[in-house]
């Protein structure tokens, strides 16, 4: 503004300070205003501009009643949606928690009691004859011994029946 470029006049910042006092309370005008019509006018322009800016609602103020009604309807719709979205929340949480528990149980239980599945191509134990089953048991015991698994049960199973041997010695 040409007014502000003159050194004898108040600057825009000074005019702003008078139009909008920092403390929110109107300040006394400098004596300069009694002599300077240009500054008086400039201050009036600043005050007007501030009022205009405050009153300026832009595109919001130019809305019709229908547009406002549409905006209100949108808000109400959003609130209704939020209401329905909120209501099943505890139920959904419950389902989520239950599903998680089931998943954990489903994963944990089989890992504890994993059934020994027959390898493909190997007949199941029930398909074998009695002799084959005895051989199978013997081979299993040998395999256990070779692994160093010397459990008492395993040794005992390999030992001849002690009662029978005593009876045989007595007979001799």
């Amino acid at each position: 503004m040409e007014h502000s470029n003159s050194p004898s006049h108040l600057t825009d910042a000074e005019l702003f300070g008078l139009a909008i006092p920092a403390a929110g309370v109107p300040e006394a005008l400098p004596a300069h205003f009694s002599d300077c019509l240009a500054c008086t006018r400039a201050l009036q322009e600043w005050k007007t501009a501030v009022r205009d800016l405050a009153a300026d609602g832009g595109a919001v103020d130019g809305r019709s009643a229908e547009e406002w009604a549409a905006a209100e309807a949108k808000t109400i719709e959003a609130i209704r949606r939020a209401r329905f979205a909120r209501r099943p929340l505890p139920w959904r949480w419950g389902v989520g928690v239950a599903a998680s528990i089931l998943l954990v149980v489903a994963l944990a239980v089989p890992s504890r009691h994993t059934p020994q599945r027959a390898r493909p191509g190997v007949p199941a134990a029930t398909d074998l004859s009695a002799e084959d089953q005895a051989d199978d048991a013997l081979l299993r015991d040998v395999a256990m011994l070779s692994r160093g698994d010397d459990g008492a049960g395993a040794w005992n199973s390999l030992l001849p029946d002690s009662g029978a041997s005593i009876r045989e010695e007595d007979r001799l």
């Binding site: 600057t11 825009d12 009036q44 007007t48 405050a54 009153a55 832009g58 130019g62 609130i79």
Partner: protein, 199 residues
């Protein structure tokens, strides 16, 4: 401007109780009554019509979702206004972050161009209108430099014409802090205007 009193013919406390009891339709009254005011306030803070609409809708939504926290001693409008101001402050903070990272110039919304033309001007000559428009634009640009809190306090004081205690009540600050923010805001705008003149 934010009204200081609510309609005495409507018992808003009773309506709030109804909403709390599950009658969501009772909340429609508040939307019809306050949507325009809240949108206007949001526009003054954000200077963007789209964001102002978003702010209003979000404010109502938050108010509805947190209605259990509403204390019956205060008015719904004050509470809603506080929610809106907080939302706008968050938005302004985000906008400043975006500007900081993208180094983009302040968005030039259509408000300055499409707004009403100097309703309070004594002399409506084209020259005066142009001067007033220029000042208004410079002031608007200078306000962009304010922090979200300074800006909200400044707008509430000088545009909404609220008192210091009212602003303190709405922003959750004490009166001394509000005055301090007002002073700093005015000082910062003055600095900006000085820079503008030199440029």
């Amino acid at each position: 401007m934010i009204p200081r009193q609510t309609d005495p013919g409507i018992d808003e406390t009773r309506l709030i109780r109804e909403v709390k009891a599950g009658n969501v339709e009772s909340f429609d009254y508040f939307v019809h009554r306050y949507q325009r005011r809240i949108t206007r306030l949001a526009f003054r803070l954000l200077r963007d019509a789209g964001e102002a609409d978003c702010a209003a809708q979000e404010s109502f939504l938050r108010a509805y979702q947190n209605l259990k926290d509403f204390r019956e001693g205060s008015t719904f409008e004050t509470w809603l206004t506080r929610i809106c101001i907080n939302w706008c402050k968050d938005r302004l903070k985000r906008r400043r972050l975006v500007l900081y990272f993208h180094q983009a110039p302040a968005s030039d919304d259509s408000g300055a161009e499409t707004g009403p033309r100097s309703p309070a001007t004594d002399d409506p000559s084209p020259e005066r209108r142009a001067v007033s428009r220029e000042i208004r634009e410079r002031l608007r640009v200078a306000m962009e430099s304010l922090s979200p809190r300074q800006r909200s306090v400044f707008v509430l004081k000088h545009f909404e014409e609220l008192s210091i205690p009212e602003i303190a009540g709405l922003t959750g600050l004490d009166s001394g802090t509000v005055k301090s923010h007002l002073f700093r805001a005015a000082h910062k705008i003055r600095e900006r205007l000085g820079d503008y003149r030199k440029a």
